[in-house]
Amino acid sequence: MTTAWGKLIQEHRKEILERWLDRGLSFFSERMDRTTPIGEALSLGLSTLLDGIEENGKAFTAALNDVVRLFAVQNFPPSSSMALFFELTEILRAVVTKLSGKKSLTDMEWNACRTRMEEITLQAFDCYMANREKIYQLKVDESSRRVFMALRRVEA
């Protein structure tokens, strides 16, 4: 981590991850247990995001899609899914305030942090839409596969 806010995340990673994961799990109709396959996948995804949060590395981008893909087929609205990324700034602020005391960030550093979070949120929105579009494509593909032989005959 090279930025001041990135270092703070690294320093308080466990606490931040805990709170962030808790928020993500609470979106489900009952709080999803963290030992379920979804809980584990979300935990893995969010921890990978935290570890590479400063820039769009390969692992970060893949993890962002993994997390958003989980939400893109759930019962809660897209706004909830996106809220998870907005909330990271607040979680960071709360943890830093609680644990770091004087070691907080300057306004400029907070602005840089917020800018990055907004960037991530917009990327997450793109991922969300891509996954929704994929769902519709899957419907088309599945219908085509089901009548494979008929289509083959038509094309012949």
């Binding site: 109709s29 396959p37 009548v147």
Partner: protein
Amino acid sequence: MSKYAPKVTVLKKELEEKPGFLKGNYSDKEWWDIPVEFREGNWCFPGKPEVLDDLGFPNPRKWAATDQDWKLPDGWQKIISDGLQSRLKKYRSLKLFLDTCVRCGACADKCHFFLGTGDPKNMPVLRAELLRSVYRNDFPLAEKILKGFSGSRKLTPEVIKEWHMYFHQCTECRRCSVFCPFGIDTAEITMMARELLNLIGVNNNWLLAPVSNCNRTGNHLGIEPHTFVQNIESLVEDIEDHTGVKVEPTFNRKGAEILFVTPSGDVFGDPGVYTMMGYLLLFHHIGLDYTISTYASEGGNFGMFASNEMMKKLNAKMYHEAERLRVKWILGGECGHMWRVVHQYMNTMNGPADFLEKPVSPITGTRFDNAAATKMVHIAEFTADLIHHKKLKLDPKRNDHLRTTFHDSCNVARGMGMFEEPRYVLNNVCNTFHEMPENTIREQTFCCGSGSGLNAEEYMDIRMRGGFPRANAVRHVMQKHQVDSLVTICAIDRASLPTLMNYWNPGVKVYGLHELVGNALVMQGEKKRTEDLRENPMAGFEEGDDDED
């Protein structure tokens, strides 16, 4: 106290802060007061009126789950109540299952829909309670004495909506039953609930349209006999192109030794047709005296998900056809619920099939005593026996371009206890096979999330949620062992898992077991093979390479 025991402070915090297990944001209400909300992606289109007319099912009409008024028939409460009473008398298992549950919760976190959605009404115990609560209301004395304690409730339109929502978020996979200390089969509760819903016209077109097709043409896809034959002949041409070998299946041939029945998806859909090519190669390889019926042209039985009467009727056609063709016994292809119906219900439903003989493999002489009642042998069992007796010339290297894992299909694994045979075959036709984690295979296998007639396109969101535990297990072996091929022995799996994989694990392809058998079979008189049955290049068999050591 164990050092691993949770700390009191942690438990206290959780009790104070965590929402109640069933109450969520409805802390002042009972679970049944939590309304169901139908929205795009979480309901299947209802049966079309013409489909219901064709089947003689009640209350054909146009409606949608999102409508306020579902246009239920007059006296629908009595229809349900009488329907429940008659089924309680007819099926002792239903009464037993409704009465014996002690709500221990062992089943709760075993359901793939609960794991994939977090919705408490998807806990099998609570799903059954949706019906049980109405059942309890039908005992006036108990209701009077225990009102408020017995967990009973009146039958209202909201209850019907709740049933429709949650009994269509159960694929009747029976994973919960494996963990139930009483052996309660929640799948049978779902079957009964769906039967009751069908009595008042609350249904699912993706399920009933295939039933209607099968009722009319003999298969779910509605393929008429001439098209059925043309499709298979087209696959025969493909086989000749790929291998240089001309296989010669026969249709409706009286006096053949064996009737082969498989799901119609194997004759019409991708990737099922490649599995069909595998069967045809295998039968040619061993010189099997078999025929395929264009009338009993479906192994699957969607009747099972609609009503017992339909299940019985659709199952009967296979046996009628076997009798008409005067075959000795039936060989069944890779299918899920066909085997559940045959193994668990056929004998008492349509049996005994005493006009058939106890199946004996004409190649190895093995007598399949396990099929003595049904006279129907599973293809995986049949092929495993051939391999065991060294009757097949196989080159597993021909599948070296695939790194495989095996998905136990619920109905074959839990429905008939078949675990070893497909693995034995797979291990003999490929060199790279990795199991998924122990608690996701064999009797603990996770459903594809689309079984029991829920494989509708409009239901995609729910299917992706319900299939997540299975996809997650595949992801594990994909990352750990670079698995790229998911092998299965069920037509619904072959139809639905490609979609599930494409969403959760892009790059993983789905194969039928006998497609890999077809790849590996070294046929007499074959030309040099460089491609598998999908025309994908085989590793190490490129043009110019020697394909045999």
